[in-house]
């Protein structure tokens, strides 16, 4: 698994980093920490506040392991060629992590586009980013980034709203295709948080959809076969929206957003933004 952590210098990113560390400790995923800023700082590429934050994230991440347990320990020294200016390269001694890949990247430009591009180019399975808690779900200085990343990413996205234990996962599905990758991401979250799983089949107002029942049964069987404690129910979209606004401070809201059948979905892309914004707790958008 490869995880991309997209962070800025604000406190919500520090909360999200803790969730990243929890994920990394259990999955030993390859990790990229990405800083994004609108334009190059002068004289260096990174603005001082972001630079400090990235240094802090790197150190916090790497120091989270005790002794020799870390798969990310920087033990692999090697010479590599780096471009200095056009036509000139310099050989530098660099130290890389031993067992699993750990990198810190910086991209300059539109934050949302930069995060999505990084995830695509690196082949990430999950993007983790923080955002303001409560009903806003914003990034300071670039408010729409979390919701747009959640809506437009090709892979799953975990939006961490604040630091809190997760005791239950509310996973919502409609009639869309459910990928193997999304089932696996949810498995990992259930395992890491030792959380209960409730799967909710979401139907349009006043309507009943056979496909939703079919999906609900398929998903129920999948988790039941793997010994996971699961309960299932059906809810209308509007009821779901209302309930996530008021309930579940310790719930992780997980939304199945398949890559296919976007036009025929009950959760069109704008719904993702609404549910993400309304949720009181962290949100996992699964693809």
């Amino acid at each position: 698994m490869r995880i991309l952590f997209a962070g800025d210098e604000h406190p919500y990113s520090a909360f999200a980093l803790k969730e990243l560390i929890r994920l990394a400790m259990n999955t030993w995923a390859d990790i990229t920490i990405l800083g994004v800023q609108a334009a190059s700082a002068s004289p260096g590429p990174v603005a001082p506040a972001l630079n400090l934050a990235l240094n802090r994230y790197r150190e916090t991440f790497l120091n989270s392991w005790e002794g020799e347990d870390s798969p990310y320990a920087l033990t692999n020294w090697q010479f590599e060629w780096y471009p200095v200016k056009e036509g000139l390269w310099e050989e530098r001694l660099v130290c890389k992590s031993g067992r699993k890949d750990f990198r810190v990247h910086l991209r300059i430009g539109n934050p949302e586009a930069a995060i999505l591009r990084e995830a695509r180019e690196e082949g990430c399975d999950l993007i983790v980013l923080g955002c303001a808690s409560g009903g806003d779900c914003l990034w300071t200085g670039a408010p729409a980034v979390p919701q747009r990343v959640a809506s437009d990413a090709d892979c799953s996205v975990l939006l961490v709203k604040e630091e809190q234990p997760i005791s239950r996962i509310l996973a919502c599905l409609d009639q869309t295709y459910i990928s193997q990758e999304s089932l696996e991401i949810l498995n990992q979250m259930i395992t890491i948080h030792k959380a209960q799983l409730e799967v909710i089949g979401v139907i349009p107002q006043g309507g009943v959809k056979k496909e939703v029942y079919t999906r609900l049964i398929e998903v129920g069987d999948y988790y039941h076969d793997r010994g996971i404690d699961i309960s299932t129910r059906i809810a209308e979209v509007a009821d779901l929206e209302a309930s996530i606004t008021t309930d579940g401070k310790q719930d992780l809201l997980a939304l199945w957003m398949g890559k296919k059948s976007i036009l025929s979905r009950f959760f069109p892309r704008e719904w993702v933004g609404r549910l993400v914004a309304r949720s009181q707790s962290s949100v996992l958008v699964m693809r």
Partner: protein, 129 residues
């Protein structure tokens, strides 16, 4: 000089994983056998020496940890790659204690598996940097 094809065994109780990995590794030049039941996979290991074994952990019957122990007993120099949908710090540590080559949490993309398999191949062929 043409090198012998390395033999890979894949064990995962989810047929979709085997179905996805087999053609992609065969395309990379490996000889691949797949199994969804650990006892059948162990029988195969008793009869054939696989250079690389890719195994899931959580399975009905004999689990992946026990399977990899038995496989290592039979062929200590087989390189074992663990893939798991239910990763924990303990299973990762235990896997490495038992001498696995790498530990990969699901979901993974094919390029990730290819990279790890190529590193295992380099180790087996003695061409590791």
């Amino acid at each position: 000089m043409v090198q012998n094809k390395l033999k890979i065994l894949i064990l995962d109780d989810e047929p979709i994983v085997c179905k996805r990995l087999k053609p992609s590794l065969e395309k990379q030049g490996f000889e691949v056998d797949t199994f969804t039941r650990s006892f059948e996979a162990l029988q195969a290991v008793e009869q054939t020496k696989y250079d690389i074994i890719i195994t899931d952990l959580k399975m009905e019957g004999m689990d992946g940890m026990r399977f990899l122990q038995e496989a290592k007993k039979l062929h200590p120099d087989s390189e074992i790659i663990v893939i798991t949908g239910f990763a924990t710090m303990e299973t990762a540590k235990e896997s490495f204690k038992k001498g696995v080559f790498d530990f990969i949490a699901k979901p993974f993309n094919l390029s990730e598996i290819h990279r790890v398999v190529m590193r295992a191949e380099a180790k087996i062929r003695g061409t590791q940097a």
